[in-house]
Symmetry: D2
Subunit: 217 residues, 4 copies
């Protein structure tokens, strides 16, 4: 079994909760209040910015040239394509980047990005990459799990959001991150990778929870 | 006067030595032994790789989103365009990336990249950017200073190398780095920026010195 | 008003909740179930270890020699005096450092230390120091707020724990951290310091919450 | 053979040059111009300060609690005992810490500390520790190698300087650093440790060279 598949398997309980989280289920059923979705989108800004920083940090600690070049490219893709996509998506919803920037960050989001950035700063490249994977991968699996509902989704906004994670370009990004984890992490103490992968998966679940509650604790 | 112009002015003595360094002068006069040039090109590999890491580090510490995106793009440009250009240039000289990787790094080069990476790791973003500027900028100025000789250069390899630093794409990169130093460094304690800029300029000069001596101390 | 007093004032709402948190109130009233206290003590291990790392990180980024020496000493005090005190306290409770190490870290604790470590790694020294202050300072204030109950506390363990935060040695440590924040942070953009100080105060509150629930979410 | 002994053996050629360097030989023979010694002592300030930062950085990346506590203690010893010793030594020579701080750092010294700090920032703890060892260890070996001359040294200053590196306290520090390299580095790819150990040894040699020339290049 590939390393990434083993990590995925060991997080099954958490991932199931992610697929079946009310935010996710209601979004694909079309019953999610738009207010909650807007809250989510605005909170996502902080994650996107931190993600560019985090891939940059990981690049600076890459163990070999191939990984260095690949992760620097991921940082760039986040900073350009992803960011532009995010901006145009905001606009379709009548929102702006400035509104997203001005949003107070909920603590659950701060905790998640702090976890990613401190792992990349102080632990190994391998652990940093394993921490990054659950976010990207679980979005693809969410979209695949609920995939048969997408075509019939009434809300254009929800449908566009959901479709993105099944596009070739996105799947290729997930595949590249997985391959990087598999290539650099094989031979690395598994327990350490498992710990960060599970923690990152929990932060994903917490994030859905917190945006569903619109940050109210 | 712009901040970058002031930094440049305060390093005039060192930069003059760079323009008039035997390696540079002989290269444009066509009298530089190809053996020295090959040594230089092979040693440059380490600088290029460290440069990708260094821009990545700086991105992770960028003080605002605009700088973050810009510096992540610079890291990417180094990792892709610059790297591919370097690879194809090596090939034209009958060399390979593997040979460059296998080359023992001369200590002068190690010192230079250590200076850049420790500045970006432990000092401010502003100081890190000021440390990066002399390399990119001085190459442009070297090519401009000796520009009228380029057309007549006999060696295709030397001519191609020299022309690159006068191309629009390269000049635009230098302009962007300068603009970033000007924008983020204005208001920052000047003495600190001056210190790193001058030290980086000295490392540039040392680098030319060391490759001219082919690493022999 | 001193910078630290202003930060403290702006966090008043959160700090009041800390003083009056059931965990704290019941501890000083002697009604806190020992099971909850043991859970807290075991979870505290991770904070202590991260605190040594965090002060070390801050030392490496200190803006001047005086701060460097002072923060390196704080790291050492955590690594020796605090750590030995913690070990002997564990022993009095029939626990060992190994048990604390073997404890699964609750996510609230992981979030708190990730926040501290990523702030020290990627933001300024001033922000890193402002993030550290609420923990140390609020413990002193908790003990002072409930101080008149200490003498009459039945549980020797609870009494010993509470008394420690009113000892001269501890108060001096808090005073030194405050003085360092005041000295290096004055003139620094206040909003940034306020943001990390308030976030750290929230993490303190979350921590009490989570240990009161014994990590059950 | 212990890992540290193997590293030491592989650097034999460089270490021999260190023992027999004119600066070292003339110092023990009592013929070293005091001007050169003063230059050396003033330049050493930067190394001492960077050493506190460097041990702090290494502490923040320590792979286990034992190493963390030990390295935090080394940072503290540098910041207190070593620093106080240095200050009182300066005073005996009619110099002050302020003069040392005001000294322009020679580039050889900047390169050495940049190498140490960038290794600790971006490479592994094991490589960072291997980079630290040559400085401490070679001073002990220099003093031992020329040990029979110490008693007869006329200059009280030179004698005091030389004696320090044979005192129990200093030897114990070297032993602890070696033991830490041996304990954490065994099993780690040897070639990587060898590379940093040899580079650090070269920087030691360069440092003696540069202070002998009083920074004139």
């Amino acid at each position: 079994m590939k390393l990434s598949d083993r990590l995925r398997q060991d997080s099954e309980t958490i991932w199931k909760k992610i697929y079946n989280h009310p935010f996710v289920v209601e979004l694909f059923d079309g019953t999610l209040p738009e207010r909650k979705f807007r809250f989510y989108i605005l909170q996502d800004y902080n994650y996107l910015i931190s993600s560019i920083k985090n891939f940059s940090l990981l690049a600076s600690r890459a163990p070999d040239e191939k990984s260095l070049i690949e992760v620097a490219e991921m940082a760039y893709m986040e900073a350009t394509g992803e960011f532009e996509g995010y901006r145009s998506f905001l606009e379709k919803m009548g929102l702006s980047v400035e509104e997203a920037q001005g949003q107070e960050m909920m603590q659950t989001g701060l905790s998640y990005v702090s976890f990613l950035l401190s792992t990349s700063s102080l632990k190994t490249f391998q652990e940093g990459m394993a921490a990054v994977l659950p976010c990207y991968w679980s979005y693809q699996e969410i979209a695949a799990y609920h995939g048969d509902k997408i075509r019939g989704m009434e809300s254009e906004i929800y449908r566009e959001w959901a479709s993105y994670y099944l596009e070739d370009e996105y799947i290729e990004l997930v595949d590249r991150i997985r391959a990087l984890v598999d290539r650099t992490g094989t031979g690395f103490p598994y327990e350490k990778l498992r710990e960060v992968f599970i923690n990152a998966s929990r932060y994903e679940l917490n994030f859905w929870d917190a945006v569903y509650r619109e940050g109210i604790t």
